[in-house]
Structure formats: structure tokens, C-alpha cells
């Protein structure tokens, strides 16, 4: 009963300190702004994907209406284009693969502005192509960072919590009430803990309210209800992390100034210095890759074009043994197409080899960053929030892997169809773009 009274008494303290109310109000405002930022980006990316997909569908429909449905397989003025040829059939099927934003993006924009989210899949493509670049944005804005909800949580929450807690116990100590309180409440730590708990609960309620508000902006519950629970769990853990640290400072400190100094120092160390030091160390240990391995593939591809037809065919049969008895091989038809598709298959292998090396280096970087999480909690939570909102590096890595799978699938189909002398008709054309979907 006494504890509850104390808990409720703190409410009076809170409403009588305008500075604390303003601080919490500012946090709510910043969070709402951040949630809208996340929601806007989600809607913007979704709309962009729809526009691109609509364009791709129109282009496919045009091919169907003008060539495949009326069975006119040539084009006036461009005799080299044969719509029945698997090469051109695949070319005109214009499949795109997208990294569809998660509605949970409302909570964290994460690394979504550093990566592209749509790509046309074509047998000459690679997941490291420059056209998979991020959206055009002002680099100074990217460097400053976007004030999304996760930013508010990661950097404003500890500061606002500092403002809410900074004078607990020390104010009484400075005004000489502390001994009086000790007489009335012998368990001083419990007294302080209950007061801290009041602010933690207050903050938690605010966070829950904000999470619900965010969920209404992008229909988080309709699509990914799990994300809400995870976001709530990790937001609570983050709040508890700072609350525990601040509690110990308050418990051991005696003056408001001393406590404020210590709490601010702690914030600076965890939010600025440690992540920045890890970033700097990583840049020294593993500088940014200039992609020379990938560039070198250019020379290997250049050498490919000088190979004779027989060597080309040998390489291709090594990759696709089932081709050895195909009609095309026996009749030697469509030599140009065979060379082109074989070139795509071999250069795809070369690309994959180079990319594998680069990705392994990136994985090493990620392993290094993860190994610092035990003393770098802000980065840990930052990446956790990004994972929940599917805007983490790994989500884009998965997307690139999917692109590679689709490229492989397209190349395999094209090679086998060309070598088997397949003629593309309406149903085959539809098959070409329907196979390019990963659920």
C-alpha cells in the first residue's frame, strides 16, 4: 500500500515539473514525426514498386498482344529479332524482382536508403550491378541520418529518461530531506527504485502508445503482427537497459550536478564514442572494398569473347551435361544465340565467384561488428530494430541472393531451351515470366 502511494505520489512530482513534461512531450513529437517518416518511406517504396511493375506488365502485354497472341514473330526493320527464339522471349519477358518494404518499416528505416529495392532480372545481370543502387538522396542528409522512430528510441529516449530521473534522490539530498525520508521509509533503495519504476512505466506506456499509433500508419497488424511484439520487447529491453544504468548512478550519487554529469557521460560513451570507435576500428582493419575483384571479371569476360566455338561448347557442356545430346548441338543451329547464352552462363559463374569473395569480406565485417555488441549495446539495439523492420543489411543480402537465384534460373532455362531448339509461343512466354517469382 505504501509502495503504491509512493508510486502515485511520483505522478504529482512529474506534473509539477514543466521541464520534464516538455521533455517527454518533445520525445512524443519526435517519435510521431519519426513514425510518419518511416510510413512515408514505406508508402513511397510501395508506390515505386507498383509503378515499375505496371510498366513491366505493360511491356509484357505489348509483346503478347503484338507478337505472341497473333503469332507474328518478327519485327519490321529489325530482322535480328526473332520472338520465337528463347533469347528474345526471355529478353521481352522483362521480369523484375523487388525487395518489398515491410510495414514494420514504420519503426525503423534502417539501411533501406543505402540499397536499391528493385531490379530487372536479365541473364547479363548480377546482384552487384550499379543499377541496384540506392535511391537518389542528398548524401549530407543520409550522413545526418533520418529522424525515424528507431532514432528517437535509440538517442532521444536515454536523454529524456535522463531529464526525468536526474534529480531523484539528489534533490532531496541537496535540500536536506533525505534523512527525514529515511525515517519514514527505511528502505531507501526501494524508495528510489519505486520512483524510477514510475518513470519507466510512464515511458513504457508512451512507447506502447507510439507503437500502436505507428501500427495504424502501415497496417502492421494486418501483415506482420509479430513485428509489433518484437519491437515492443526490444524497446522495453532498451528502456530497461538505460533505467538500470541510471538507477545505479542515482543510488550512489549525492548531487544533482554529479548525477547529471555521470548520466550524460554514460550517454555520450554508449551512444557516440563506442559505436564511433568500433566504426573507426573496422575502417582500419577492413577498409571499404573498391571492388577490384569484380572489376577484374571484365578482363576474364573479354578473354571469353576470343574463345573458339568448340571451347565455348566444351565449357558449356561441362556446366550442363544434359546438353551433350541436344538437337542444337547436333544440328549446330543458332550459333550466335548459343554463343550469347553460353557467354552469359560462363560470365555469370565468373561474377558469382568474385561476388562470393566480396560477400565473405562483408560477412567478416559483420562478424566483427556483432562481436562488439556486448560492450556496444546501442549498435546491438539499432541492428535489432533494423532486423525487425526488415531493413537490416542481411535483409538486403537475402534480396541479392534471390536476385542471383533468379538470374541462375533464367540462364539455365535459356541455355537448355536454346540447345533443345525450343520455339517460344504464348504459353512459353508466360512461363518465362511466371518462373521468375520467389514467394
Amino acid at each position: 500500500m505504501k509502495n503504491l502511494k509512493l508510486f502515485l505520489w511520483e505522478w504529482k512530482h512529474f506534473v509539477r515539473s514543466p521541464f520534464k513534461i516538455i521533455a517527454l512531450g518533445l520525445f512524443v513529437l519526435a517519435s510521431v514525426y519519426g513514425l510518419h517518416k518511416g510510413a512515408n518511406l514505406y508508402h513511397k517504396q510501395t508506390a515505386e514498386i507498383e509503378t515499375i511493375e505496371q510498366g513491366a506488365q505493360e511491356s509484357r502485354q505489348e509483346a503478347l498482344d503484338n507478337y505472341y497472341i497473333p503469332k507474328i514473330y518478327s519485327i519490321e526493320g529489325k530482322p535480328w529479332i526473332d520472338y520465337q527464339d528463347p533469347f528474345w522471349g526471355i529478353w521481352f519477358s522483362t521480369p523484375y524482382h523487388y525487395k518489398r518494404p515491410s510495414p514494420a518499416m514504420v519503426y525503423s528505416i534502417g539501411q533501406s536508403e543505402q540499397f536499391g529495392f528493385y531490379k530487372r532480372i536479365i541473364f547479363r545481370a548480377s546482384p552487384s550491378d550499379p543499377d541496384l543502387a540506392e535511391e537518389i538522396a542528398n548524401p549530407e542528409r543520409l550522413q545526418t541520418g533520418t529522424l525515424d522512430f528507431s532514432f528517437a528510441l535509440l538517442f532521444l529516449l536515454p536523454l529524456v529518461l535522463l531529464v526525468l530521473l536526474y534529480n531523484l534522490k539528489s534533490a532531496e539530498s541537496e535540500q536536506g530531506f533525505l534523512t527525514l525520508i529515511e525515517v519514514q521509509m527505511p528502505a531507501r533503495n526501494r524508495w528510489l527504485l519505486i520512483r524510477v519504476c514510475f518513470y519507466v512505466m510512464l515511458f513504457l506506456l508512451v512507447i506502447i502508445g507510439l507503437l500502436f499509433y505507428g501500427a495504424t500508419l502501415t497496417n502492421v497488424f494486418e501483415i506482420t503482427g509479430q513485428a509489433f511484439g518484437q519491437q515492443l520487447l526490444f524497446s522495453t529491453l532498451y528502456l530497461l537497459f538505460w533505467s538500470v544504468l541510471y538507477f545505479f548512478i542515482l543510488r550512489n550519487g549525492k548531487s544533482i550536478l554529479g548525477n547529471t554529469l555521470k548520466m550524460s557521460a554514460l550517454f555520450l560513451v554508449f551512444a557516440f564514442i563506442i559505436p564511433a570507435a568500433v566504426h573507426q576500428t573496422l575502417s582500419i582493419l577492413k577498409p571499404a572494398n573498391l571492388m577490384t575483384d569484380l572489376i577484374d571479371v571484365r578482363d576474364e569476360k573479354e578473354a571469353l569473347s576470343k574463345l573458339s566455338d568448340s571451347i565455348f561448347q566444351e565449357k558449356l557442356i561441362a556446366m550442363y551435361p544434359q546438353m551433350a545430346n541436344s538437337p542444337a548441338r547436333q544440328d549446330s543451329i543458332n550459333t550466335m544465340d548459343i554463343q550469347t547464352s553460353a557467354y552469359s552462363a560462363i560470365s555469370n559463374q565468373l561474377n558469382k565467384k568474385a561476388i562470393q569473395f566480396i560477400e565473405e569480406e562483408n560477412r567478416e565485417k559483420n562478424r566483427f561488428i556483432s562481436s562488439t555488441f556486448w560492450f556496444n549495446p546501442v549498435s546491438f539495439f539499432q541492428n535489432k530494430f533494423n532486423t525487425i523492420s526488415e531493413t537490416h543489411y542481411n535483409d538486403y543480402q537475402d534480396y541479392r541472393n534471390e536476385i542471383q537465384t533468379l538470374i541462375d534460373r533464367q540462364i539455365d532455362t535459356m541455355n537448355l531451351d536454346i540447345w533443345n531448339g525450343v520455339k517460344v509461343d504464348e504459353s512459353k512466354f508466360r512461363e518465362y515470366y511466371e518462373m521468375m517469382v520467389i514467394e
Binding site: N138, G145, L147, L156, P275, I284, L290, K365
Partner: protein
């Protein structure tokens, strides 16, 4: 006044906690510069290695058709500037590799930020991080009770009775605390200078001096404002929490919100619509009624008349090379229009953001800091323009070789020899002149000066209204 400053300094240095903290800060600053330098050194080594590797590849081309070579192309890597060891600016965000080839102006790709999971929202541990975020906070803690302490201890009355001027006293305290920050700044610069003695140029030194002045001004603004609060509020804690609130608002809250807002006021196109617009202009003609085929026909007639022949086969040169160069030059107009628009939007965004300095001097400091360190978007855009200019010369040389190197129209098998490829010059990055940077950041410098004057007036006003007895 000088006596008061000296006295204030004496009391600062007598504070053992502050002395310990200062030693810690000096060590941290020195380590930061060392790490920054080490990183720049490693980056430069990697950059040089990659640049030489690509050049060797280019010079090793024994025989290749000039047009094939235009498709083969080359790559340009973005170098780091020496001062980016102090302020990294946008370097981690922007791409590092730019492909140079025929028919297209590519965009820079493969940024450092895209090569790993998220680490630090405020960048690497560079001196700028400490000088912009941490030291101001320290100054704030040093200054917030300077006048109140004198008031509460009764020393202020004594000083006034002895003939001291309150305004002078307040200014002396502001200067003394600012000097503490400036001292740390000068130590940073000194360590940086010693470590980079061999690479220092006049341009770098001027930039460093400008950086020092700007940071000093910012520190003065911050301490003066804190002392003003110390005068106005009876409760020292209120003075501290108010200044903490301002620090949060200025350094964490406002830059984010303002930068996001200016991007909405001056909107950039989406990548798809940007590329689509360029594709359309490229095929239809810039004004929409000058299709590529018509342009080809007009050029053909012009060249035939120039050489006084009736057909392309009679030409002593290879018309295909001329046609490709003409197409390139038409492409230049398209790239200039669209990339020019992008640059103009960036410029508008920057200018709007710079006016944010009216309500937040931190914005002016941050802008000018990365500007003079050569790590801002202006330097980045200038690098991209230089690469594009190089690309135009590079491709023109290849097209000219195709046109006038000895082949005739329709001969795509013509190959240039190794001497020709060796004669094509490599890209050399030219630093942006300081005068250009200064013009771009004049508004930030001016706003910081205005802030300095404003806060000084505020302090004078505050001391006049102060109730001492």
C-alpha cells in the same frame, strides 16, 4: 578583464576532477587523430593500389577496337582528402567506384555504408565528433554555474564593491571557458599538423585555420549563452537542464528534422523516373521533336558535303566514329540537363539547410566543418563533375581514333595498338580551390559571427538586468 580571465583559468586548473578529465580528453583526441590518420593512410594505399591496377590493365591492352575499348572502359576511385581524417563528412555514405565508359554517365557506387550492417549513426571516431558533440557539452558543464556560484558564495558582491564590472566579469568567464575548448581544439590541430607535416600544403593550412576560427566561434556562442542562463536563472540546475535541452535540440533534433524537411521542400526525382527521363531525352531528342534518326541523317549530309563526296563509302575516314562522337555530344546535353538538375536541387537543399543556421549555430558549424575538411557534398559533386569531364575527353579520344585512325566507314574490325592506349591519359583528381569553398560557406561563417554578436548582446542585457544585492 585579463586578470579575471587569468583568475578563472587558475580556478579551472585547480579543479582536480577537471584536470583529470582534460588529460583524458587530450589522450582521446590524440588517439582519434592517430586512428583517423591511420585510416586515411590505409585508404590511400588501397586507392593507389586499385588505381595503378586499373591503369596497368588499360596500358596492357595490346590491340582492341577503339569502340570495344569504350565499352571496356575504365574505373575511377574516389580518393580521400587529408583533412577527412579530422571530419569524415559524407565519405562513408557516398560510393567509391565510378565506371567510365561510352554512351553513358554512370553513377558512383559501392559505398562503405552498404558493405556492412549499421554501426554508428554519428559516423566514425574522428576529431569532428569530439569537437562538435562532446567538447561543447563539457563547456556547458563548466559554464552553467559560473555566475551563480559567485552569487551564492557572496563573492560577486565583494567583487562589485571592489569596482569590478559585472558585464566584464561575465565576458571574462565566457572567454575563459571558451579558451578551454579552444585549447583542446589547438591541441587537436597541433597533433594533426605534426603527424602530417610532410603532406601539408598552404591550402590545407588555410582550411585548418578557418576550421579553428569556426569552432572557436561556436564555443564562444555556447559558453556565452550558458553564462546568460546562469545569470537569468536563480536555480543552477535549471540553467543546466535548459542548456542541456538546447544542446539536444541543436545537435540531435534540429539537424535531422531540418535536413529531412529541405529534402521535401526541394524534392529529388526517384531513380526510375530520373533514368526514364534521360532514356526518353536520349532517344527522342531534348526538345521532344528531334529524334535520333533525323540527327544521324543531318550529320551524314554535313560530313559528305565537308568531304565533297556522294556516299559514305567514298569518305577517306570512318563515319561511324564521327557518328558515335556526335551521339556522345548529344548525350552530354542530356546528362548535363538531368545531372545538372540534380546538382541544382542539391544546391537549393544546401542553401535552405544553411539558413537553418539562423536558429541553430550547430548547423553552420557542421556545414562549414565538413566543407573546409573537403568531405561535404560540394566536394563530392565536384569530383563527379571532374570524372564526367574526363570521361568525355576519354571517349572522344577513342571515337576520334575510330574515325580518323585509318579505317573506313563500316570497318568495325579496326584495332588501335598499344601505343595509342598508353597515350590516353589517366584521371587526375584536382582539389577544389579554397575560394570556391569559402564562397559556398560564407553564409555559415556569417551566421556564426551573427550568433557570436547576438549572444554577446544577450550577455550584456542579462548582466544589466541582474539583481545582485
Amino acid at each position: 578583464m585579463w586578470h579575471i580571465i587569468k583568475n578563472e583559468w587558475r580556478s579551472l586548473t585547480r579543479n582536480r576532477a577537471l584536470f583529470g578529465l582534460s588529460i583524458g580528453f587530450i589522450i582521446l583526441l590524440a588517439v582519434t587523430i592517430l586512428l583517423g590518420n591511420w585510416q586515411i593512410q590505409k585508404d590511400t594505399e588501397q586507392y593507389t593500389e586499385a588505381k595503378n591496377h586499373l591503369r596497368t590493365q588499360w596500358e596492357s591492352i595490346k590491340e582492341m577496337s577503339p569502340h570495344g575499348a569504350a565499352h571496356y572502359g575504365t574505373y575511377v576511385f574516389k580518393p580521400n582528402t587529408l583533412l577527412s581524417s579530422l571530419d569524415d563528412g559524407v565519405n562513408s555514405i557516398t560510393g567509391k567506384v565510378l565506371r567510365v565508359e561510352g554512351h553513358v554517365q554512370n553513377e558512383i557506387v559501392y559505398s562503405e555504408a552498404s558493405q556492412s550492417q549499421a554501426i554508428s549513426k554519428f559516423g566514425k571516431l574522428k576529431s569532428a565528433l569530439l569537437l562538435q558533440y562532446i567538447i561543447p557539452l563539457l563547456l556547458l558543464f563548466l559554464a552553467f554555474q559560473s555566475i551563480n556560484r559567485e552569487k551564492q558564495s557572496g563573492r560577486l558582491k565583494l567583487l562589485i564593491l571592489q569596482g569590478a564590472n559585472v558585464t566584464k566579469l561575465a565576458f571574462a568567464k565566457a572567454i575563459a571557458v571558451s579558451f578551454y575548448g579552444i585549447g583542446l581544439l589547438l591541441i587537436t590541430v597541433l597533433v594533426y599538423t605534426v603527424l602530417n607535416l610532410n603532406n601539408l600544403t598552404a591550402d590545407i593550412l588555410y582550411r585548418v585555420v578557418l576550421l579553428c576560427l569556426l569552432y572557436s566561434l561556436y564555443y564562444f556562442v555556447l559558453t556565452t549563452l550558458t553564462i546568460y542562463f546562469s545569470i537569468r536563472f536563480k536555480n543552477t540546475n535549471l540553467a543546466l537542464t535548459s542548456m542541456l535541452g538546447i544542446w539536444i535540440f541543436w545537435t540531435i533534433f534540429l539537424p535531422n528534422i531540418l535536413m529531412s524537411s529541405v529534402e521535401e521542400w526541394h524534392e529529388l526525382p526517384s531513380r526510375e523516373s530520373f533514368n526514364q527521363a534521360m532514356r526518353e531525352d536520349r532517344s527522342k531528342g531534348l526538345d521532344g521533336h528531334n529524334p535520333a534518326d533525323e540527327r544521324t541523317k543531318a550529320l551524314e549530309e554535313k560530313v559528305l558535303a565537308e568531304y565533297n563526296v556522294d556516299s559514305l563509302s567514298q569518305l577517306p575516314i570512318n563515319f561511324d566514329g564521327i557518328l558515335m562522337q556526335e551521339d556522345e555530344e548529344y548525350g552530354h546535353k542530356v546528362w548535363d540537363k538531368h545531372f545538372g538538375n540534380l546538382r541544382s536541387v542539391f544546391k537549393k537543399q544546401k542553401q535552405s539547410y544553411q539558413f537553418g543556421g539562423l536558429i541553430n549555430p550547430f548547423i553552420s558549424l557542421q556545414n562549414a566543418s565538413m566543407g573546409f575538411a573537403g568531405s561535404d557534398n560540394l566536394h563530392h559533386q565536384e569530383f563527379l563533375v571532374q570524372v564526367e569531364n574526363y570521361r568525355r575527353v576519354f571517349i572522344k579520344e577513342l571515337n576520334d581514333e575510330h574515325a580518323f585512325g585509318g579505317s573506313k566507314t563500316g570497318d568495325w574490325s579496326f584495332s588501335a595498338d598499344n601505343d595509342f592506349f598508353k597515350s590516353v591519359k589517366d584521371f587526375e583528381h584536382q582539389p577544389v580551390p579554397l575560394s570556391v569553398v569559402f564562397n559556398n560557406y560564407f553564409i555559415d561563417i556569417l551566421l556564426l559571427v551573427v550568433w557570436g554578436i547576438l549572444t554577446s548582446f544577450l550577455l550584456i542585457f542579462g548582466t544589466k538586468k541582474m539583481i545582485i544585492l
